[in-house]
Symmetry: C2
Subunit: 110 residues, 2 copies
DNA sequence: TCATAATACCTCAATATTCTAGGTAGGTGA
DNA sequence: TCACCTACCTAGAATATTGAGGTATTATGA
């Protein structure tokens, strides 16, 4: 697991990115991030649900309920057109951020 | 400038790294980060000074005053041995974090 | 001379995100 | 029946950052 503060702010980027692949529900997103990151990103439900609600309010994602024959109903989320373009922005911001950070922390081992 | 939240948690890493090059004072660190990052990391004094105090309390850095013939005295910081080893940890954490993030956000453009 | 700006330190309230710890409810298996 | 998993949720505490303010010294230019 990473430092809590370091990871702050990357949740929305990850959620939007995963939703470009397929519609997903909250509980699924938690498990998916955990699995795909080899347990490095163990985002908690207490973090994800409020984050989803904010993204929905911003109209970057939208939701629909799907009843299950087995188990509780699921609230699926799908990314909107606006969400897609915000994702593009966030993604390029991420790459710029990494580039700047790397140039700053790379040891001057001459 | 980057998103406020994305950058959270990288301040201590940057401070420790810069101090491996030479001892610096707070005001200098602010300007230095701004310059080196092409104005992408405009860390504010209200962020840096408390961050320095925390690092000092953790004994990752230590300070000494230096009077100037011109202008106000400067509080210089130097990295400690413990700070150096924490920096190593934080640096490798950073690289792991970037790797995991990249593997998650890289579009599956097959 | 006097006002302004730069240097150099500092604190505090507001904001945003995350986590911990709880809660509700449906369904499964021993 | 009881424990567990699925699946949703919220509230309070902790943390980092920022904006806005403060103090003090020195330099600059009108």
């Amino acid at each position: 697991m990473f430092n809590r503060e370091l990871v702050k702010g990357s949740t929305s980027l990850l959620v939007l990115q995963l939703l470009t692949e397929r519609d997903m529900y909250g509980y699924e997103l938690v498990k998916e991030m955990d699995n795909r990151s080899d347990h490095n990103f163990q985002i908690k439900e207490g973090t994800l649900y409020p984050a989803l609600h904010k993204l929905e309010k911003q109209e970057y994602i939208e939701c629909y309920w799907e009843k299950q024959t087995k188990g509780p109903a699921r609230k699926y989320y799908r990314i909107t057109t606006e969400g897609q373009s915000i994702l593009d922005e966030k993604t390029s911001e991420w790459y710029r951020y990494v580039q700047v950070m790397n140039s700053l922390i790379r040891r001057n081992e001459s």
